[in-house]
């Protein structure tokens, strides 16, 4: 069954979109991150213009994060103070990101920048994750009850000014750190249409040293508002948010997410992280091949302006 997408300006199979949304939801349920990093490249592969794919995906991320924030909030897993500080950076970053996006689109380099950013980001994260999960796996095999390390390490970054207390996260760190992190995630979110959870979550654990219990909820909180900001700005400046496309992805995701979380409950964490690492690396490899392979035709149409 085909449906015409009013903003993308083309027809596409409904079940393909529902399936893509379902897969993103499944990932969200399994790993606690949105599946945007997978869904956006897939949308571009099936021929949705990158500008529309990114903007509509941001719209989908809102739905994804609100339904998982619902649960996290009730369980008290949101460090509101940390979330707000992150958000401060996030709003500025995503606004700058939309401006950058519009500029890159105008000069015809947005597709390339999206692809390169994905490759760099996904291969870094996928590499780190697979390394970490392999290490944990072998450690667990050797010492099933390895002693827990320090709560968090102290790095150079802890000497930055404007220190703030984050009670829920049991942290006393410079506010510049979460603001900078939020800014970076905001830019990524605007350029790639991802929530950024898959970068934010590891960064919160390893960089900020937040306890894992509040990481997912706080990340959801920041992602929700940043995605809303991106959706608003993309639609106000570029008019590229396709709500029909977003709705189909959301509906797929709503079904996929609980299936994912049920699957996640049955598998040990290290296996889950390993699976996710493999998936991330596979998407990165596919995108890299696209960049390296000679295109079918080197020509494409960048811009169409009706002159009056």
């Amino acid at each position: 069954m085909e449906i015409y997408l009013p903003i993308a300006g083309q027809s596409i199979n409904v079940f393909l979109l529902l399936g893509l949304g379902g897969m993103a939801g499944l990932l969200a349920g399994m790993f606690g991150v949105g599946g945007g990093f997978l869904a956006t490249p897939m949308l571009i592969f099936v021929g949705i213009p990158p500008a529309v794919a990114v903007a509509s995906q941001a719209n989908q991320v809102i739905a994804n994060s609100v339904s998982s924030l619902q649960v996290q909030w009730r369980r008290g897993n949101v460090d509101l103070r940390m979330g707000l500080v992150l958000l401060l950076g996030g709003v500025v970053g995503s606004s700058a990101g939309v401006v950058l996006f519009t500029f890159l689109k105008r000069i015809g380099q947005i597709d390339f920048v999206i692809a390169v950013l994905y490759v760099v980001m996904l291969s870094t994260i996928g590499g780190l994750m697979s390394f970490e999960s392999l290490r944990t796996y072998f450690r667990q095999k050797r010492h099933p009850e390895a002693p827990r390390g320090k709560l968090h390490q102290h790095y150079l970054v802890h000497r930055l000014p404007w220190k703030m207390r984050f009670y829920k996260s049991k942290l006393y760190i410079s506010a510049l750190l979460p603001i900078g992190l939020g800014f970076l995630i905001g830019v990524l979110s605007a350029l790639l249409g991802v929530g950024g959870g898959f970068v934010l979550v590891p960064a919160m654990i390893y960089l900020l040293g937040m306890p894992t219990s509040v990481v997912i909820g706080t990340s959801n909180f920041q992602v929700l508002f940043v995605a809303a900001n991106v959706t608003f700005l993309q639609s106000a400046t570029n008019g590229t948010v396709d709500v029909v496309l977003a709705l189909l992805l959301i509906l797929g995701g709503v079904v996929g997410a609980p299936i994912g979380s049920r699957l996640a409950a049955r598998l040990p964490g290290v296996v889950l992280r390993g699976m996710m690492a493999v998936l991330i690396l596979a998407v990165a490899a596919e995108l890299l091949i696209e960049l390296l392979r000679a295109p079918g035709s080197p020509y494409s149409i960048g811009l169409r302006e009706v002159l009056k």
Binding site: E2, I3, Y4, P6, I7, G9, Q10, S11, N59, Q60, I62, A63, N64, S65, V66, S67, S68, Q70, V71, G108, Q109, D111, F112, V116, A228, T231, F232, L233, Q234, S235, A236, T237, G239, V241, V243, V244, A246, L247, I250, L251, V254, V255, A257, P258, L291, L292, R293, A294, P295, S297, P298, Y299, S300, I301, G302, L303, R304, E305, V306, L307
Partner: protein, 273 residues
């Protein structure tokens, strides 16, 4: 008996035009060879037009179920002669990008804008065009290649390179189905009826298209008619697209609200299941 003869004459005389007006009618068997009797009709001009045409739909409506569409253009002409049909989408400035290998990666390095590029171009004829246009038609009828050769480039560039961009533009449009063929076939039935299918792809730019039919005799245009063909989103699609264009802020807020609502309700419902 007299009445019967009159009825018969009426049927024969009106049969062909009536058929020409009805959309999606299968081609009828050729009418009798004898000239159709003309009924005296005081008040109206005695000579009928040399060329008439109609389309199976007055407009192309882009609905939620739109997947591209085939329109039938049909009509009648006064023989002898050959028929050429040209359908053109609204012109625009299009920028063609060219990828090149840079440090092993393929990225857009060249760009060239062209003015007056038709969004859609389809030309069909009842005879090979070269033969029809051999004696020239004053540049009125242009083959796809000629039409594209007349597209103005913006700025200056070396000729051979410009040609490559021009060919690149044509290839992209052809892949998208916007330049369906070099030349389509106009089918002539019974020496006076003609028909041609106009294929429109799913990724069709909106605007008022121009549909023209020409009657040629000995390479000269003896009759030409044109009519506009509006291509537009309708209903829900039109409303959404219009909203996104005119009231981007409001549309954005609506999109956010929709996502919040569906995400919230969906999450609640699915957790209960």
């Amino acid at each position: 008996m007299r009445r019967l003869a009159l009825l018969l004459a009426l049927g024969l005389g009106l049969g062909a035009p009536a058929f020409a007006q009805g959309p999606r009618v299968e081609p009828a068997p050729p009418p009798p060879a004898m000239p159709a009797p003309r009924l005296p009709d005081p008040g109206a001009p005695v000579t009928p037009p040399d060329l008439v045409m109609d389309l199976s739909a007055a407009r192309v409506s882009i609905t939620s179920a739109f997947q591209g569409e085939k329109l039938l253009l049909f009509g009648m002409f006064d023989p002898p002669g050959e028929v050429v049909v040209v359908v053109q989408g609204p012109p625009a400035r299009e920028t063609v990008m060219r990828k090149e290998r840079f440090l092993g990666l393929w990225l857009n390095t060249g760009r060239q804008a062209f003015d007056d590029v038709p969004a859609y171009y389809y030309i069909a004829a009842s005879q090979p065009l070269q033969r029809l246009l051999a004696r020239g038609t004053g540049g009125e009828i242009l083959s796809l290649a000629d039409r594209l050769a007349s597209v103005r480039s913006v700025g200056t560039r070396e000729d051979s390179d410009l040609t490559r961009f021009r060919i690149g533009l044509t290839d992209v449009k052809r892949r998208e189905g916007l330049y369906p063929a070099d030349i389509g076939q106009v089918t002539i039935q019974a020496n006076r009826l003609f028909r041609v299918d106009l294929p429109f792809p799913s990724r069709l730019p909106e605007g008022v298209y121009d549909v023209r039919a020409y009657l040629l005799r000995d390479g000269k245009i003896v009759a030409a008619i044109s009519r506009p063909l509006p291509v537009a989103k309708v209903g829900f699609n039109a409303q959404l697209a219009g909203w996104a264009n005119r009231e981007g802020e409001l549309y954005g807020l609506g999109a956010i609200l929709m996502a919040l609502l569906v995400g919230w309700i969906g999450g609640t419902v699915m957790r209960r299941l």
